[in-house]
């Protein structure tokens, strides 16, 4: 779990240029981390590559917080 969160955090920090301290499980990509819709699509793409999972468009739409992403990845691994 910790490891997944760490890797997800690194991707978010790189992609969105936010501080690591801003990234917590409750943080919303758009509201809290300043992402626009296309940024979220790109984040999901990077998560797919990083964790070697396929995230369907339907599932991707439900991923709105850091916690959603971590939970989703854990459920697939």
């Amino acid at each position: 779990m910790a490891d997944v969160l760490e890797r997800v955090t690194k991707i978010i920090v790189d992609r969105l240029g936010v501080e690591e301290s801003q990234v917590n499980l409750d943080a919303k990509f758009k509201e809290d981390l300043g992402a626009d819709s296309l940024d979220v699509v790109e984040l999901v793409m990077e998560l797919e590559d990083e964790f070697d999972v396929e995230i369907s468009d339907d599932d991707a739409e439900k991923i709105t917080t850091v916690g959603d992403a971590v939970t989703y990845i854990n459920s697939k691994n």
Binding site: L38, V41, E42, M45
Partner: protein, 247 residues
């Protein structure tokens, strides 16, 4: 103009305009994937011609209105060539009929290939191009999508749709370094226009200020420009290559 090291995918590149575009991109240095629907031999010939000038090329059969097939086509391209810089959405069909006589099937076939096909291919390459932070998408619309044409309600609607799609995707993808433009050819001498009856052709030529049908090379030159570095600041535009039909 130079496209050395660029990877291009041209849909409907076995004949006509698509073939001319594929050859021109290759001549300028690009490696080119040749998509076709049914004419395997013609696709192979184009591919061989490209290899003969020292560029890499392979052919791939795919109905661009089939989402799964489109996704595997793009995957195959990226697997083999490692990236994808240029997509030319060229494949298209006609099923002409007067509105009053047009069958639903004729409408659906043309919308599925000429409009939905462009959407599916654009969607499928976007992932790769977004990652690269660069890409060129060139959509082949038509002059009739700008000015209308009797007997082609389906085709005209699809081609006008392609112009809208071009502008929407240009806006969405601009921030990621991807440009999307359309070319609107007028009447170009290919298999597609060969089918027209002589009187229809003569009447058509009468509407062309420059007074002749266009050649496939005219469209290829425009596509090469839009793919080149010189066009890096151009996006969301419709370039008419039509002898002056639409002004």
């Amino acid at each position: 103009m130079n496209l050395d090291g660029k990877i291009a995918l041209v849909t409907g590149a076995s004949r006509g305009i698509g073939k001319a575009i594929a050859l021109e991109l290759a001549r300028l240095g690009a490696d080119v994937v040749i998509n076709y629907a049914g004419n395997e031999q013609k696709a192979k010939d184009v591919s061989e011609e490209i290899k003969a000038i020292g560029r890499r090329s392979f052919i791939i059969q795919c109905d661009i209105s089939d989402s799964d097939a489109v996704q595997s086509m793009v995957k195959e391209t990226v697997d083999q060539f490692g990236r994808l810089d240029i997509l030319v959405n060229n494949a298209g069909i006609t099923r002409d009929n007067l509105l009053m006589r047009m069958k639903e099937q004729e409408w659906d076939d043309v919308i599925n290939t000429n409009l939905k096909g462009v959407f599916l291919c654009t969607k499928a390459v976007t992932r790769q191009m977004m990652k690269q932070r660069s890409g060129r998408i060139i959509n082949i619309s038509s002059v009739v999508g700008r000015i209308g044409n009797a007997g082609q309600a389906n085709y005209t609607a699809a081609k006008a749709g392609v112009i809208g799609l071009t502008k929407a995707s240009a806006r969405e993808l601009a921030a990621r370094g991807i440009t999307v433009n359309a070319i609107a050819p007028g009447f170009i001498a290919t298999d597609m226009t060969d089918e027209l009856p002589i009187e229809a052709k003569e009447q058509l030529i009468g509407q062309i200020p420059l007074g002749t049908l266009g050649e496939v090379e005219d469209i290829a030159a425009a596509a090469a420009f839009l793919a080149s570095n010189g066009a890096k600041y151009i996006t969301g535009q419709v370039l008419g290559v039509d002898g002056g039909m639409a002004m």
